[in-house]
Symmetry: C2
Subunit: 195 residues, 2 copies
């Protein structure tokens, strides 16, 4: 028994370990409970279903990226510089996840395919941050006004940088030319926003 | 026996049919010969190995896209309009292949994964066409001069539109919002090129 009361974070960390060890197809709530030295009823008191537990662990994984990005989106400085820093931080965060622990990254790819609604929330969160940045740049006169509206433009930027953040392209992320290409793409998009 | 002498095109068409019917893992040169009513030696006189035959059939499939695009790249009119038409034609050609005959599209996805050097040639061909278009726009003063050079900019445009032509994204191509997103992305990139 753990000396401190069990927190949701303890359960999520143990779930990630169990998923990594047994793989998404085999990992069960009983495995998580056993890893924590508690009954599976204790786990179910915090997460009512296996689906709820898996969704929470995916949200936690995705939030390590979006939390850092939110601080850039809401930070000081010209909108163009913040947008550039935001796009670079998104690429760096995804690349780090893919290269530092490829096995865990592959595990999460399987999980997100099975819980697309959590991914949709994540994308909506990113689009929201981009929209805020574009609105800030338009309000200060740094970016040209619409149409299209800021949210449509945010979607366009998200798609135009997909090769730098969509997991389907992860194999390209460690190549030096990919980082160089991101620099050129960002410069082109910023000129487009300012024009 | 066919009444006319067997052409390479006859063999490639038959190979595509055989690949579609048996799948890339099982289709053999003997199957192609049987479909044509000739000996496998006759097929080998035109294509010296199974690999050479498969590469030729992939090149033929990819060329149905690049041939049409080359006519747009080399056509008349302002570079910006040609670039827009070129990007729309690339998306339309890929979407048509993916939706008109999804089984054949899936077959070719397996083939291209096994013959990456043919894909590299294809991408080099597309980058060459984009580079020509950007150079034309810079020469006429329609696009801003570099740096970066036209080829680097061509690579950036190819990557920024990847979700509209890379097969990993094919599932999104039939959604109406994808065509709208392409319009916004093209407008943003063209403003960036002109700025």
């Amino acid at each position: 028994m753990p000396p401190e009361p069990l927190t949701p974070e303890d359960i999520l960390r143990a779930t990630e370990d169990v998923l990594r060890r047994y793989g998404p197809a085999k990992a069960t709530v009983v495995d998580v409970a056993r890893a924590l030295g508690v009954s599976h009823g204790t786990v179910y008191r915090h997460f009512r279903t296996k689906t709820a537990l898996r969704e929470a662990v995916i949200r936690r994984w995705l939030h390590t990226t979006t939390g850092r990005l939110a601080r850039i989106a809401d930070g000081p400085g010209p909108a163009g510089e913040r947008l550039e820093a935001w796009l670079r931080a998104l690429f760096a965060a995804k690349r780090r996840k893919a290269t530092d622990d490829p096995e865990l990254f592959a595990t999460y790819q399987v999980l997100v395919e099975e819980h697309r609604e959590v991914v949709s929330e994540h994308i909506a969160d990113l689009i929201g941050q981009l929209t805020t940045l574009i609105e800030a740049g338009r309000a200060s006169g740094e970016f040209a006004p619409g149409p299209p509206d800021a949210e449509t433009t945010a979607h366009a930027i998200h798609r135009a940088t997909a090769v730098f953040h969509k997991p389907a392209h992860a194999a390209e992320w460690s190549r030096p030319e990919t980082a160089d290409a991101l620099t050129t793409v960002i410069a082109l998009l910023l000129r487009g926003l300012r024009a």
